[in-house]
Assembly symmetry: none
Homo-oligomer: 194 residues x 4
């Protein structure tokens, strides 16, 4: 079905061009670094002309965002076992894999972009951050109703505490971001230290 006849006059958008752009973007970041990513280099690397880039994406950040969404499973589903710590851990492992995998540099690039541009940070939150927080929130609310978590818990705060350290290590790169780190973090948060 050609759903509703979208009035397709003229030549249709070239899907191959889109793919070339997105893969060139990721290739540039991983091989030459964030600093070498420019619309100019994307255009050269993808053989797609600059005007065409501007026709389809409003900014370099949006290309990056779309490139990432194209290659990663964005929102992990939660297991709903009767063990909260275990479910959080599984989720955290996936997050570690995401941030330290081949596209970790691309994530860093996206946040760098967002820092200089408030509107784009809003896009990042909407697309990358919030969906992930939402599924976590759902699991935590379950935990409250099952008595695994105190009823008066500030969930937003708890979610911050769970995610922030991952981003912190991704950006600062001061120490390893791995499963051991995830384990320690989660156990510390759940059990408390004092």
């Amino acid at each position: 079905m050609n759903e509703g006849k979208p009035s397709v006059r003229g030549r249709p958008r070239d899907a191959a061009a889109r793919d070339a752009v997105l893969s060139a973007t990721l290739r540039i970041i991983s091989t030459r670094g964030i600093g070498s990513l420019s619309l100019e280099s994307i255009s050269r690397g993808s053989k797609v002309s600059r005007p065409t880039l501007y026709r389809w994406w409003p900014s370099k950040g949006e290309i990056l965002l779309e490139a990432l969404l194209n290659v990663t499973e964005q929102v992990a589903r939660y297991g709903h076992s009767d063990n909260l710590a275990e479910d959080l851990r599984q989720h955290a492992y996936e997050y570690v894999a995401l941030l330290t995998g081949p596209y970790g540099d691309a994530y860093r690039a996206i946040f760098a972009e967002g820092m200089a541009n408030e509107e784009f940070m809003e896009r990042i939150r909407t697309i990358l951050i919030n969906p992930r927080r939402d599924v976590t929130k759902a699991r935590l609310q379950d935990a409250i109703s099952m008595g695994e978590l105190k009823a008066d818990t500030d969930l937003e705060m708890l979610i911050d505490a769970l995610y922030a350290p991952f981003l912190y290590r991704l950006l600062l790169q001061h120490q390893r971001l791995d499963r051991t780190f995830a384990d320690t973090l989660i156990s510390q948060i759940l059990k408390g230290k004092a």
Copy 2:
């Protein structure tokens, strides 16, 4: 010791020029945003020539770093009361004030800069991050020896957990970064949630 004679051959560096550069830098960030900060704009805004900027600072980031160090008391001292939570809170309040004060945008700008340049991120850690972590670590070690904290605590992890959420909110700007946030965070970390 050879510090007595700093080898003052030649015309001395113009202190006024340095000040003009640093204050122009902060002024540009706060009034026109990170995106408008360039060596060109700093040069114009400070009436200091571009070659002079390059004579003294190797990059835009270093100017930013020096500008921040010039206007903020960097390493807060810890109170050493017998109440760990109270001391952490005092420290956190200062941190909140720092990040949400007039130079909050400058901090965001610095991290944006560091993200595209690994060497500069190393500088940020050395100058901005580590000193602050060090004083916190000292206080936490005291806490262990006084029995306020379990002896097997992973201190690096705990420090990450304490600082990361501040940076997280500074960058993502998804929710308020205030004293209430600090209070909740600290109490959650110390008491645990499960």
Copy 3:
């Protein structure tokens, strides 16, 4: 022949920009002098951006060269009367007019440029000098075959003797460069002095 389709893909070169550059170049030289001619000043004076200048001309000298070629009829034709002296005189008058006209300063500027750059001097010879020498040589060879000139004459040397004094006065500016000068020079060369 593949000149029929000069491969006009993309936006065509802006002819108005080219003209603006060339006329700004001549204007700057005549009003503010050679010393004020820079790609920067040409850019400002023509409202053509510096990158565009570099796109089309490899150096300041080439702009000058093209500017001159654009406004002067380069190679004068020789009259072929039966009087060699008369034909040389007519040609010399044109040369005097060229060097003392509104673009005399531009010629001086071009030679100054060529002196610091051997490759560019080669360009000057190819474009400005040799064509003029060639037509003179043709006329002189005619003269030999018609018996107006000795058959063993060293033509290159004779041509040097005819042209060098013009350049000499253009550059040194020690005495007037006018028709009387041309008359005297030619008669002296043809008749000899001893």
Copy 4:
């Protein structure tokens, strides 16, 4: 007259510095070319500070001029034999040696400098050009009084014709500048071609 006691208070000028400057100047021109000659490079190459250069010389050209005068015998004396052609030839040989010797590039550099600066060209004429023309003029006047040359000869024109081709070949570099060239030139001028 106070030249007996020039009232030399203070430290006298450092003669070694002057020599270092002049020899560095010639060294730079001959090894790295005219294009690399700058007050900056002279300062570096001579270990003489830039302010000192400005104290003693008003411009780059003046340094060049002084450097040349320091190393070359400027005005050749004329032989006064009874053979004009022979005397001119001897003089021309010396001129060839001068322009094609180790300082030929320096002469080219000086003329390049003079072309962008009318006042400096005046200095070149006064110091380099006119003295040489004067001795030639004296010899030619002798020739007139001795009947070797017609009495109505335009001497200025004749001197131009004698010197111009040398400069022409020095600058344009289109053909060799050697003794054969000098021979041919002089004989052509004296005997005429028609």
